[in-house]
Symmetry: C2
Subunit: 242 residues, 2 copies
């Protein structure tokens, strides 16, 4: 069965956490909105699907995943669904739950990263909320990035199976998502991320190890990996880094 | 087995979504931080638990739940764990996943409600970010409350089993959480919530129905229900309602 991922076609955004899990597992999937419009691609087609009155369980927002009769939205719920199917959720209920808890904490960090450039409204331009953005980004760089990365460092160093993975001794979607969080922070806030990562060496090592995995490496080199840009969640505005 | 809920003892906050599920199911639980300090109660004891180096899976932040050997943090992950055990997650994997997806969307709305009074930093006082708060709250009232409630209205009215529940024809933790979201919005933003709820009659009806359920009603009348206050997530600052 081919998974269908539906997400905005020009950004990494939240869809990237799903893309990484599918790619790292070598799963068969189509990134639907990036197909030609004749094959259902494009942002307009994506928008129509969200408003499809024939689907009583249409998601609030992209991404959403279609797997046969199953349609699931919300990044963390998609990964909860895919995790056991792709072998990326640890072993048993306890590890599966812990993997999900880690993912939800990553999602909190991602939402805060987004709000550094849109602290007032997602319906207004960055340029129209730049002063508030500077203040929010200062707090994010000074307090929140270190707090999040310190916690993940603690999880890695206290893992009884070693500090190479967040959960046990094998790859989970939480590892992949932490890789993406670090990649995003390094892109958007190179100075603040470098400072925080100097105090979180196991997190930095995990990022490097994930990037070296064959399938992830191949994906990152391919045109399927959309470059970071200033339409996505992680945006590099030099005035917000500190 | 008695569940142990660990959460700040003086606010509803995110812990309230867990309290409501436990109460509505008539589960046996202890709200640990509200116990006397001799029994492990108080905010200081809660803080120590978070930093307990003997627990390699300590949560990033409260709430967290202890059930024997299981310790789980992140509100939505706690509900994912409790849902099937309390009979509050629908039937089968598909409904369980949909219930969780709804919960994650409620969590997004809750995080945005929080950020209306703290758009710049959770480490600074509201009074020191009031101007940004006014701007963020205006967008939340004008655009986001209606967008979220419209979506839940759509989910209810398109539910093939009728508009009394979000998932199928029985109570889930998503119903309880939507009740709490509506209660919080009405407390914090009475004018904006009334306006949005006038266009979401099924959501308003669900809120009223949940409040009338015997166990929920008894809980809401009891001293176990902490009143809304200006330390929690939903705060009534008249200047932020519009």
């Amino acid at each position: 069965m081919t998974y269908q991922l539906h997400y905005w076609p020009t950004i990494q955004g939240r869809g990237e956490f799903v893309r990484l899990a599918l790619e790292a597992a070598g799963a068969d999937y189509v990134d639907v909105a990036r197909e030609p419009s004749g094959k259902g691609g494009g942002g307009a087609a994506l928008g129509r699907l969200l408003r499809d009155s024939g689907n009583p369980r249409a998601a609030f927002a992209p991404p959403f995943l279609v797997d046969g009769d199953i349609v699931v939205g919300q990044t963390a719920a998609i990964l909860l669904y895919l995790g056991p199917r792709l072998g990326l959720a640890g072993i048993g209920e306890t590890d599966g739950l812990w993997t999900h808890q880690l993912q939800l904490t990553i999602a909190d960090a991602v939402a805060e990263a987004h709000d550094t450039h849109h602290p007032i409204s997602t319906n207004a331009y960055y340029e129209d909320q730049r002063e508030a953005a500077k203040a929010r980004a200062k707090d994010f760089c000074d307090a929140r990035i270190p707090k999040f990365l310190d916690w993940f460092e603690r999880v890695l160093t206290l893992n009884p199976s070693g500090d190479l993975h967040l959960v046990g001794d094998s790859l989970t979607y939480a590892d992949l998502s932490l890789f993406q969080l670090v990649a995003g922070l390094r892109y958007a806030f190179p100075k603040a991320a470098a400072r925080a990562l100097a105090n979180a060496p196991a997190v930095a090592k995990l990022h490097a190890n994930i990037a070296r995995r064959q399938r992830v490496h191949d994906y990152l080199q391919s045109p399927r990996r959309i470059p970071f840009n200033e339409e996505g969640i992680f945006r590099h505005y030099p005035e917000l880094d500190c």
